[in-house]
């Protein structure tokens, strides 16, 4: 089935795929290759700054490393549940396909929440970008100093981890649409609205939560323009995207967190 994408009735008019698989999967791989260059550029920019600056800060202490390790565990576990979802989809087991994808979304959401808490803590302590809303208090002189002396650190840190967090968020929305289709739209709308109302205005996430609204508009447009019942191939390519997000974190975690570690006490 995979190497016959078009049923045209004319024998030998189209050659089988060079890559021996269906075109949607090749398309997703090509997208992931281009996206890996985006993350590659960001990771190289971070590494460039670290190598060229002898005063590069090492502000991550025990709590940050513990948090980032748990986040890594969440992403690795989400990849396992995603693979289980793909296997269930191949067996034609729709119920367990949905369940495994929902588990994957749960781990992904846990990652986003933990990462958001980490960002909020760092911003409150003084590690910040100029465009962030002013905090009521900045208690940590070390982070304030880092922001002033080596502004490349918060710039590259927030860009790199923010870009990854955006990808995880898009991944959770993507999986939600594949698992629940139209039923996911009101859920997403409620999460956006509650998040916007609950998160304080002096938090950067009060504004970043609108990414969910943007995702809602895009997802609704796609679903209403092309309503379909997602099959095993769709589950597999959504899984490719999810594993890629996991893969990128395998480089961000050691480069950004473990290489900026200073364990005290």
């Amino acid at each position: 089935m995979s190497d016959v994408a078009v049923q045209h009735g004319v024998a030998d008019a189209y050659e089988p795929s060079l890559f021996g698989t269906y075109s949607k999967k090749v398309g997703m791989w090509l997208f992931l290759l281009s996206d890996s260059l985006t993350f590659g550029a960001l990771l190289f920019a971070y590494s460039y700054g670290r190598i060229s600056n002898p005063d590069w800060p090492t502000p991550f202490h025990k709590a940050s490393i513990t948090n980032a390790t748990i986040m890594t565990g969440c992403l690795l576990s989400s990849s396992l549940t995603m693979v289980m979802g793909v296997l269930a989809a191949r067996r034609g087991d729709r119920s367990w396909t949905r369940n495994w994808i929902l588990f994957t979304m749960l781990f992904g959401t846990a990652f986003i929440v933990l990462h958001g808490m980490e960002w909020s803590k760092l911003i409150d302590e003084g590690l910040r970008l100029p465009l962030f809303p002013a905090a009521g208090h900045e208690v940590n002189a070390e982070f304030r100093s880092v922001t002033q002396v080596v502004p490349q650190f918060p710039a590259t840190f927030f860009t790199l981890t923010g870009m990854h967090m955006l990808h995880v968020t898009i991944g959770v929305i993507y999986l939600g649409i594949v698992a629940l289709r139209r039923k996911f739209l009101p859920i997403l709308a409620v999460i956006w609205l509650v998040g916007w109302l609950v998160i304080p205005k002096d938090s950067v996430f009060h504004y970043l939560i609108h990414v969910l609204l943007l995702g809602l508009v895009v997802a609704a447009t796609i679903i209403f323009l092309k309503p379909k019942d997602y099959d095993a191939h769709d589950v597999e390519i959504s899984g490719l995207y999810w594993h890629f997000v996991d893969l990128v974190w395998m480089f961000i975690f050691p480069l950004v967190y473990l290489m900026s570690t200073r364990i005290t006490g």
């Binding site: 698989t21 999967k25 290759l33 590659g40 565990g73 289980m84 296997l87 480089f251 290489m259 570690t261």
Partner: protein, 102 residues
């Protein structure tokens, strides 16, 4: 779906890969936590472990191991080649360090 049907889809191998990824992560954290190496050597060790982890994810979780050779080589050569080109910038970063620019 010939690409999916030709390989062993037993769940055990995926749990094994998941366990290996968790163990490698624990090793990374232990190395960094105990400051086992000086920074450059630490970076090399962490990157080697990360490349092993990414190979496991790409090969097993993303199923590239089970694709045909044309798919594997086209995808991997393209992305690894492009990423390697970015190493040219590190020469400049080291030049700045040697110049002692503050």
């Amino acid at each position: 779906m010939h690409d999916a049907a030709v390989h062993d889809d037993s769940k055990g191998q995926y749990f094994f890969v998941w366990g290996a990824l968790l163990v490698l992560t624990a090793v990374e954290v232990a190395l960094a936590y105990n400051q086992v190496f000086e920074p450059v050597r630490m970076l090399e060790a962490l990157m080697i472990l990360s490349i092993i982890k990414s190979a496991l994810i790409i090969g097993y979780f993303m199923h590239l191991k089970f694709e045909i050779a044309a798919m594997k080589w086209t995808m991997m050569v393209a992305v690894v080649g492009c990423l390697c080109l970015m190493f040219v910038f590190f020469e400049d970063a080291l030049r700045i360090v040697h110049l002692g620019v503050k």
